[in-house]
């Protein structure tokens, strides 16, 4: 039961260009969406999030867009840098009485080519 889907397992982008990572979800109860970045041998690191009441959130080079009607979100990284090379996980959570049960996608491996 893949409630959060990342259909592209990998993506290669030239340094300086835009990286666009996509994510689809099926559970309309999700109200909060997150992107995590993961380097090998490390735990996921929070990158950026967006509440379902918004359609865009920007933090420096990172912007997350949410299209609720399409149940789709995307992460834009511009300009892409070699240090951005990592696995990016889309994640979603629903109201759960305070705590978060986060459902992760399968991840997209981003390679930024110098």
């Amino acid at each position: 039961d893949q409630q959060v889907k990342q259909n592209s397992p990998s993506l290669s982008v030239q340094e300086g260009r835009i990286s666009i990572l996509n994510c689809d979800y099926t559970n309309s109860m999700f109200d909060y969406f997150l992107w995590y970045k993961k380097y090998p041998a490390e735990g996921p690191t929070f990158l950026i999030s967006i509440s379902s009441i918004k359609d865009k959130n920007e933090d420096g080079r990172f912007t997350v867009f949410l299209n609720k009607s399409a149940k789709h979100l995307s992460l834009h990284i511009v300009p892409s840098q070699p240090g951005d090379s990592a696995v990016y996980f889309c994640a979603a959570s629903s109201p759960s009485g305070g705590y978060q049960k986060v459902t992760f996608g399968t991840g997209t491996k981003l390679q930024v080519i110098p």
């Binding site: 997150l34 735990g43 705590y99 978060q100 992760f104």
Partner: protein, 116 residues
């Protein structure tokens, strides 16, 4: 900067043995979680823990699994009788309940469990 720590980094065990994975969450955090990632697969939620009790657990978290916060700092995951399919990376995470809108979970570096 405060961080979540996990020990050991790698645990090798024989099938049927008990293992305890340890985590030290960030000190002022109040929500604690365990996730696992089987090699090549997605990160999966196992259990959430708040106020010394389980808030929610997934179908993966069966009777062989238990969690405990034995003191003010450690948060442990016990697998009573390990199976081959328990081999995975296990991540601990913690969250500051006062983080408000941000709701960021901080993850530890993980423990790689190998069941032989």
């Amino acid at each position: 900067e405060p961080e979540v720590t996990q020990t050991p980094s790698h645990q090798v065990t024989q099938m049927g043995q008990e293992v305890i994975l340890r985590c030290v969450p960030i000190s002022n955090h109040l929500y604690f979680y365990w996730y696992r990632q089987i090699l090549g697969q997605k990160v999966e939620f196992l259990v959430s823990f708040y106020n010394n009790e389980i808030s929610e657990k997934s179908e993966i978290f069966d009777d062989q699994f238990s969690v405990e916060r034995p003191d003010g700092s450690n948060f442990t995951l016990k697998i009573r009788s390990t199976k081959l399919e328990d081999s995975a990376m296990y991540f601990c995470a913690s969250e500051d309940v006062t983080s408000g809108f941000l709701r960021e979970q901080f993850f530890g570096p993980g423990t790689r469990l190998t069941v032989l």
